[in-house]
Symmetry: C2
Subunit: 760 residues, 2 copies
């Protein structure tokens, strides 16, 4: 085993190297070429990325979203990452997952290097442990296709010796060229004493005073794109972690001269950390981007490196370029305070803003269509025709959008500040429950730019702050529509209440801002809703991912009505979530004229029929049997099943439905009422099409969406779904002790009249 | 390195062993004695458990909660666990975490054995890899205190040879005695062909036809308490995974003759799985408990083994004993259907049930107090005095409980089925929004058994199904109170609507049943609420974990009112969540009689004062400065801070408050209204004590709790917080296509009158 290791005296490229740097070179599997013909198996959920092979080095990345283009990456592992928290040896699981991540990234065609401070952590342990470690690491990287190449252990180098520096550089380049991942093991014990850090500009003057500056030095010398520094600190904080205001700094600009603190949330550590910041800044000036993050947290350590490279908000990102706009956190704060101002306006003022926005949509039509044309041109050939259609705006679309906005303005009059309940608790002590906005909404929408003014109008009408996250493909259109929205808002000085989030921000990152966002509303495909529901951590999501609607045709149904209702429910717009998916037919109707007429209609309408198991058993020649009774076809396909009774229908709906919309067709009022009372869905109808399940058709004024949640709003949601309540209590000097058993006062709890809701 | 490995011909205990079993023995750190004097560092979050050293083997465990008593455990790792999904070698990260878990369990004083089918997975790879693997494993287990002992590689064994079997047995026992974790590496390639599995009863007749039966055989021979079989299947399903009804079977009783399927959710695999079940059943009959679980899922593989030993619901648990009661899943279904029946009763019938329960509480007083006495006796010496007090019931407590129940019955009349909105959509097409129960509630409560009838009454009044999870310490009391609740329910045939969950069920497991539970309500300490909020996956939690209430004393406040209101808010019951925590004083009041009177009162009431930074800067000798302005003292302590204006007070409240209850004290109505409109909290008061923030004091009839959520219920929550709505649409044969642009009908959307809420 050790015969493969060259001890000391090793001279790669015929030269002598690094005195205190131990290099362990590991083979990496054959570089995957960015060719679609090669099938890549990936056990990570990060997609295969074609890394440009010849990125010009010299300028650090301006934004996290660009980190995925990093070609050469140095990962520096602090002692706390390498060792277990209980001081009982190696953190084997953590190390293994780091190695797996490095392996994934390298197999994407990147050039990975690892720097560990292993010698510090294991100083007192035997050398054998390090050999074991290196074997495990090699083992993981060795993915079955390639050979273990060699292990190099080098001794005696002085970083201040120009010749030796060049040697190291040359060796590492040679290793990278050979598809090998070098592991540079630094040893603090023999590091030369610190020198004054006189000039951060020059490569040659940095003192090698700790492992972080060594990593920075190596990274810059090797023209690395990205240096990831993992230790047990979260990153930079704007005030001491644990204090009231401490926030992790997402992006650190050296130019800002921010006051920063390092640390985990539970612990302030300023000691060796200053050096870490200096090293990071130095690397940044050398053209290498830097991310400092926590590599020890059990929940993230399995994907912290790949997350950083994917551009996720992990730790602190050092950037020389300060983007022109505010950060998403600042936008969240602006939306919060802007929303609070909006909420205190008079209802007429909010309506005025929306009317003004409607005017702007028609007045500024040419500019809007011009911006939209740019989006369409850029999307041409990259998006499928239906998507292009959704992306495209037109004069008539803008006109009907303006009409919709004026309807929202009308319905906004009676939303915020409506008194729901009034109670006299005691003499001169009156309680009021009033509607107030929820707070800050995050609306995530795909392609359709017409979503933006509509959603903005809903937020304005309900007095909520709004963060809008649109798709990249509609960037130009969204930008101008947002500008117009802000122009409308500014007539009452609340311009900042609606914020458009930069397209570079990851949806997943946004879904984690639970301190900032009160409700997420995804507007788009059911897949989008599912993804958001999964990603949202501790923030409620309003929406439904499934609409499995049933229609039960009772034994006492009218033939014509049933046919009419089934046709409208299934065929009028089969892609809608409120379209019919499963038809339940009473057993007695089989082989009756009603049944024949229904089947004839479905044949004429070219609806493909799937037979439920009971239905299939009644037929000699049955259509294809369903795989699942819980299918949303979203197309001209229909599942038919037979039931024995209204109770049987209800049981079927409870078992296989999605609690969206379910209908009974019958002439028997008693049966109908039984169905209406017993079916536990958001919408339950009698002799009406499933397609009525819609905010506009329900007369809610403006539709926010349809919710199948049982908490907060349920079914079609109007503006009320964007409201919550607060309790106002007006007293004189009322204290509860006066109401105690032997106190002087008694609770009255008289309900007081409440103004009735406006009628249209 | 290899000099430490004995190749072939090794004869532990002077004998020759197993032909196809490779044993790698690993030292384990010195057994930790169950003595409190020894400090145990643990990097896992599972607590140190004192494992009884002499559990008598012979009977398998009846319930998962007993698995923590397992002394000797065999973990069988399938090929899918050991290798990566991309067929590119070892799953190093997974293996490492398995080793770490085994290490944790062994350091708790258990005797761990590993069985891998490594040879199958690596058959085509070189032997060197296995050596590398074993070194990593050894490395992890080696926790700095002990020496690497030895590695054993044995050859040539026939399991059918009695002598050799005894040798294996003896060797393994000897290894365990020596504090060594044996790793038995099985090799399918040389396994003898299968024999008919003629008799499951006898140890000697099982054929060694696969690795699972080998593991089972080893487990039984070694008198193992628990066999954990990890592979890439979730466990046993009651129908093919992926089908509509497929459910993972939590506990499998061989006596049930259930029809079962094996598989992951995405994949049905029946092939080799029959053997897995047979092996498990065979082990069970031999007295070894078995859990089959997925060891490959990235989210759980880091703690799957420790989770199983802790009794969590992972995979399928094989038990010979079928507990008398239903499973928690069955209870959830009973609560759902019972709740639906409850919801369709008349309001008077629900009230009748509650009245009957109130009667039972007084009629059956002696029995209740007897059960409670049992709890108190068992808790004596184990619970602190305040907890014992909360646990204890008395005649007067039962009487006031009965009074409370009658109040709930009264307020239940107007809850379910109340019409909130009526709209005429078109002629003969009328829409109604009515209140309906949320569905199934899970209420988790600590010690206080009086919680049970109260919560049950709330659920009954609102027509919800209920799962109750009480503390172990109140088991006897809860049992009888639940029996009485069911007795009351049965007068209208809905006995099953309220279910008491077995004390053995883990709260964390319950919080994951998102298909079964619609809302979780924790009733207890704020720590309990925080824990539940963290554990709940996709189920909303109603409750608040913080109550940082503010009172702002304006420059125009009355001296006497301010003093009265501060005293009541802070001193009347400082532990309450609606007690005052931060007093904001207008700058102009400093050094006025009002200020002096306030401070005098606080001194008399012995309230400890903490100074905010601005307040401290005004004082020459200040009290201790606050560490955080965001503190809930819950005691006779108060933070005082100075503000410049009402706006400054509002900003402070928004920044440091918890949106619970905030109060202004002023004589200026305009300032008061500004505060009421602008403060964004659940409760905002003018000249009234913070302590009014309470469902009973608000006149909500029955208090469900206080919510600081901005979604669904907010502030003190009455029965309405347990309700949602559904939309009923009654038509004749209405279809939406009639309402299209050129259709025959137009939407009317007329608001129809709604019955006013009953006044008390």
């Amino acid at each position: 085993m050790l015969s493969q290791v060259y001890w000391g005296g090793f001279q790669p490229l015929k030269q002598r190297l690094l005195p205190w740097v131990q290099c362990i070179a590991i083979s990496r599997s054959e570089r995957i070429q960015p060719s679609a013909t090669r099938h890549v198996r990936s056990w990570s959920n990060i997609p295969f990325i074609t890394v440009p092979l010849n990125r010009t080095h010299g300028k650090s990345f301006a934004h996290r979203s660009e980190l995925k283009h990093a070609k050469r990456i140095v990962v520096k592992l602090g002692s706390a990452v390498v060792t277990r928290g209980d001081e009982c040896g190696l953190a084997l699981g953590r190390l293994a997952s780091i190695v797996e991540q490095v392996s994934v990234l390298q197999n994407q065609g990147r050039e990975m290097m690892l720097v560990t401070s292993g010698a510090v952590a294991f100083g007192k342990q035997r050398l054998r442990h390090e050999i074991l470690l290196s074997q495990s690491v090699r083992q993981a990287l060795h993915s079955g296709q390639n050979q273990l190449k060699e292990m190099i252990l080098v001794t005696n180098l002085d970083f201040h010796d120009e010749q030796k520096r060049r040697n190291l550089n040359g060796t590492l380049h040679e290793l990278l060229r050979m598809n090998i991942v070098p592991i540079v093991n630094t040893n603090d014990a023999v590091v030369p004493p610190a020198e004054p850090n006189s000039d951060l500009q020059g490569v040659n003057v940095i003192s090698v005073k700790d492992n972080d500056s060594l990593a920075a030095r190596l990274a810059v010398e090797m023209k690395t794109d990205l240096l990831i520094v993992l230790s047990d600190v979260e990153g930079l904080f704007d005030s001491p972690p644990g204090s009231d205001d401490a926030k992790l700094i997402d992006i650190f600009y050296p130019g800002d001269q921010q006051s920063v603190t390092f640390g985990t949330k539970s612990r302030v550590g300023m000691g060796g950390m200053e050096a870490k910041v200096k090293a990071a800044l130095w690397a940044l000036q050398g053209g290498t981007s830097v991310v400092i993050a926590n590599g020890t947290h059990p929940k993230v350590s399995g994907h912290v490196i790949t997350d950083i490279v994917e551009g996720k908000k992990v730790g602190t990102f050092f950037s020389e370029v300060k983007p022109a706009g505010p950060t998403v956190e600042q936008q969240g704060e602006m939306a919060r305070s802007g929303g609070r101002m909006l909420a205190t306006l008079e209802p007429e003022q909010r309506a005025e803003i929306i009317h003004h926005l409607a005017d702007l949509l028609t007045d500024q039509r040419d500019e809007i269509l011009l911006a939209n044309k740019k989006d369409l041109e850029e999307a041409e050939g990259r998006l499928a025709a239906p998507l292009l259609k959704r992306l495209s705006l037109s004069t008539s679309k803008l006109n009907s959008l303006a009409i919709g906005l004026r309807q929202i303005a009308a319905s906004s009059q009676d939303s915020v500040g409506r008194v729901l309940r009034r109670t006299r608790i005691a003499k001169n002590l009156e309680l009021e429950q009033v509607t107030v906005p929820i707070g800050v909404l995050l609306v995530i929408f795909e392609s359709r730019p017409d979503c933006l003014p509509q959603v903005a109008a809903l937020a304005i009408a309900s007095g909520n702050g709004l963060l809008l996250k649109g798709g990249k493909e509609a960037a130009h259109s969204n930008r101008i529509l947002h500008l117009l929205t802000q122009e409308a808002l500014s007539i009452h000085g609340v311009k900042e209440a609606v914020q458009l989030v930069n397209t570079r921000e990851e949806v997943e990152d946004l879904c984690r801002l639970d301190k900032m966002i009160d409700l997420i509303i995804p507007r788009g495909s059911s897949q989008l809703v599912r993804d958001i529901q999964k990603a949202a951590k501790g923030i409620p999501v309003m929406g439904h991912s499934e609409g499995i609607c049933h229609m039960y045709v009772d034994s006492e149904a009218s033939v014509d009505k049933a046919t009419r209702l089934v046709r409208d429910s299934k065929c009028e717009y089969p892609a809608a979530c409120n379209a019919l998916e499963t038809l339940l037919i009473h057993r007695d109707l089989l082989r009756t004229p009603l049944f024949d007429q229904l089947i004839d209609m479905l044949r004429v309408e070219q609806v493909k029929i799937h037979a439920g198991p009971k239905f299939a058993s009644y037929l000699t020649f049955s259509p294809s049997e369903v795989k699942s009774l819980r299918t949303e076809y979203g197309d001209l396909e229909l599942c038919i099943e037979v039931v024995d009774s209204v109770q049987d229908a209800i049981d079927h709906i409870h078992k296989y439905g999605s609690s969206h919309t379910d209908v009974i067709v019958t002439e028997n009022e008693q049966t109908a009422e039984f169905f209406l009372q017993h079916v536990d869905s958001a919408c339950v109808f009698w002799n009406a099409s499933t397609r009525f399940s819609d905010g506009y058709r329900f007369g809610l004024g403006a539709e926010v969406g349809i919710s199948t949640s049982r908490i907060h709003a349920r079914g079609p949601v109007g503006l009320e779904g964007l409201l919550t309540t607060k309790w106002l209590l007006r007293g004189q000097d009322h204290v509860v002790s006066d109401f105690s058993e032997h106190g002087s006062l008694k609770y009255l709890h008289e309900n007081l009249p409440v103004p009735q809701r406006n009628t249209n």
